[in-house]
Symmetry: C2
Subunit: 336 residues, 2 copies
DNA sequence: TTGAAAGCGCTAACAT
DNA sequence: ATGTTAGCGCTTTCAA
């Protein structure tokens, strides 16, 4: 942490009061637009504000009134993933409409980083928090929630915490996608980059299994590859599957990054395996390979999460209802 | 469902002091780790902190000390554009290393929205601001800067403001890209979605012109299409060019969105025009059409901007040097 | 080593 | 309609 100079001195209400020849209280009243100020005083105050370029200090006001800070926090895993960027934009849009700003923090899917971020949030008076949890361990998040901070969990429901959530229909989306592949005649379908430990991962696996069961096709565990962190490892995992004695005729990637990796692997081997994946890819129509995806509105996920948060913020604590669970629906899209 | 338990008001330092049987001052000292506290007192304070789940209020501290808020603002045009998302991630990484958080605001390239955002920032004690200006009109930004707020301009230098900037080598990148196309034998090269009014636009046009001049090829103004706001209008603009009596044999798109639009137009018409563009596209290797791009590290742009901001924040006002201008270099990448 | 007093910038509550 | 007092949660200053 580098040393810093203090924020440059800004004029305060006292300065305005002095300049306008009134008391600070009159300045406060004049600026808040409330009644009890003569037009003449108000005019003089506004003139002084203009002259000195005064801007009220929101922190001080908030400290005194105990009112909202008009800042909400958004904790994501990786902002550069277009999916989270879209979600963030949705959150920002809603926050903006409510006069609030968004503080964004990326955890890079690292539990320790998430802990740090959360510790920071406990000290910082933000009005509420929207979080995409990095891991299934939510103990530190419970401490935040217990502080009385309204929280909304996005993409993953809370684990042992009494909080709202907005999630994607991971199960239904994967089941439908997988069913279509099975209907196309595929009986050996690979699953790339599954993370059993995460809620989304287990839900998507459940959908995969359900589709197989409904089609009366047995699942071969050798076709399910373990968690892959990035595109390159998704490519490797896919290559491993394609080299099996009985390779899959189709692969399903468990998120947008895994999809890119899988496409590269199939292209490089010249295999004729069909590729499908969770998460839409905006430019998939330009790909040389056909692709089927589970699409849902990432921005909408952010919008709904933020709206739910503001509902909570507007609520009286006493008559607050139990946690809500909202589901974002999915559709299947075929490219090429 | 369990009724949400009444939120306990956040404990303050006084509560800790009472619980530990000491004065608030001792609590402050114990927590700040400073000298002048007996081990016994410190232990009792820490125990009380644990017992009550106390977290200091950073605002109150900041108000009293006048120190930094450890919040910086990042104003971008559109967070969902992968380019700005990457930039934001770079900013966040550096900020995090300096113990600061990032408040992100998207202007959607709208001047009025930018004005609102800036007005908000004038009231909110953030330590500094990194901005990608939405338009060439920087008057409202000057008011922010005049307040003494350290500012760094990213992608576009300030207009009449004494502030640092980090920009891309728009001119050099475009000149090199265009030169390569000319060397490939193209003499009619379209330019898609140029925004003359923006600094980046004029720089890129300058590079386009310079390359033509160096190659001794005359520029045909009919090949230069006006500003296009989104992918769809880029497609339309490209289609218009391709239908010209003497159509271009190559088109250069002026940013990543324009590139997508141009690729779609060329694909849909089955034209044989080569496509090139400013900004890299991560999955371009999967495209069915060849593509040449001007690549640069978007995240690095964010990193350098943030680093420059923290340099300013660490500086004494008196011995502050003049504005710095940093250039991010570009390379040409051919896909397919 | 500890505490009491004062004040950061602002506003609620009570004067006048 | 205006001003005075007090205090939000914290820390600096000064006294004990």
């Amino acid at each position: 942490m580098t040393p810093r100079k203090a924020v440059p001195a800004r004029p305060t209400m006292r300065d305005i009061a002095a300049q306008a020849g009134v008391s600070p209280m009159s300045v406060s009243r004049a600026l808040s637009g409330g009644p009890g100020v003569s037009e003449r005083t108000r005019a003089e105050v506004l003139a002084a504000v203009q002259a000195l370029g005064y801007q009220p200090n929101e922190f001080a006001r908030q400290l005194r009134t105990g009112g909202p800070t008009h800042v909400i926090a958004l904790v994501v895993t990786h902002l550069a993933n277009p999916f989270y960027a879209a979600l963030a934009l949705g959150v920002e849009r809603v926050a903006s409409a409510h006069g609030s700003r968004v503080m964004i923090m990326s955890t890079m899917s690292d539990l320790d980083t998430e802990r740090e971020v959360v510790a920071d949030l406990r000290r910082r008076p933000v009005d509420g928090v929207i979080i995409i949890p990095a891991t299934p361990d939510h103990r530190h998040l419970k401490e935040l929630a217990d502080q009385g901070r309204p929280m909304v969990f996005a993409t993953t429901p809370p684990n042992g915490i009494d909080a709202d959530s907005v999630t994607v229909d991971d199960f239904g989306g994967m089941r439908e996608l997988c069913s279509q592949l099975l209907a196309d005649g595929h009986t050996r379908i690979g699953l790339i980059g599954l993370n059993h430990a995460m809620w989304t991962g287990s839900e998507r696996l459940r959908g995969y299994s359900a589709a197989h069961a409904e089609a009366g096709v047995e699942v071969d565990d050798k076709l399910i590859t373990e968690r892959a962190g990035d595109i390159a490892s998704a490519t490797k995992a896919t290559l491993r599957l394609l080299r099996l004695h009985q390779p899959p005729t189709a692969v399903i990637a468990t998120n947008n990054l895994m999809t890119i990796g899988a496409l590269r692997a199939v292209r490089d081997t010249g295999a004729r395996a069909a590729v499908a994946g969770f998460d839409d890819i905006e430019v998939a129509d330009l790909f040389q390979q056909p692709l089927t995806v589970v699409r849902y509105e990432a921005e909408q996920l952010g919008v709904r999460s933020a709206e739910q948060l503001f509902v909570r913020l507007a609520q009286d604590d006493d008559k607050a209802a139990g946690p809500t669970r909202e589901l974002i629906t999915t559709t299947i899209v075929r490219y090429g």
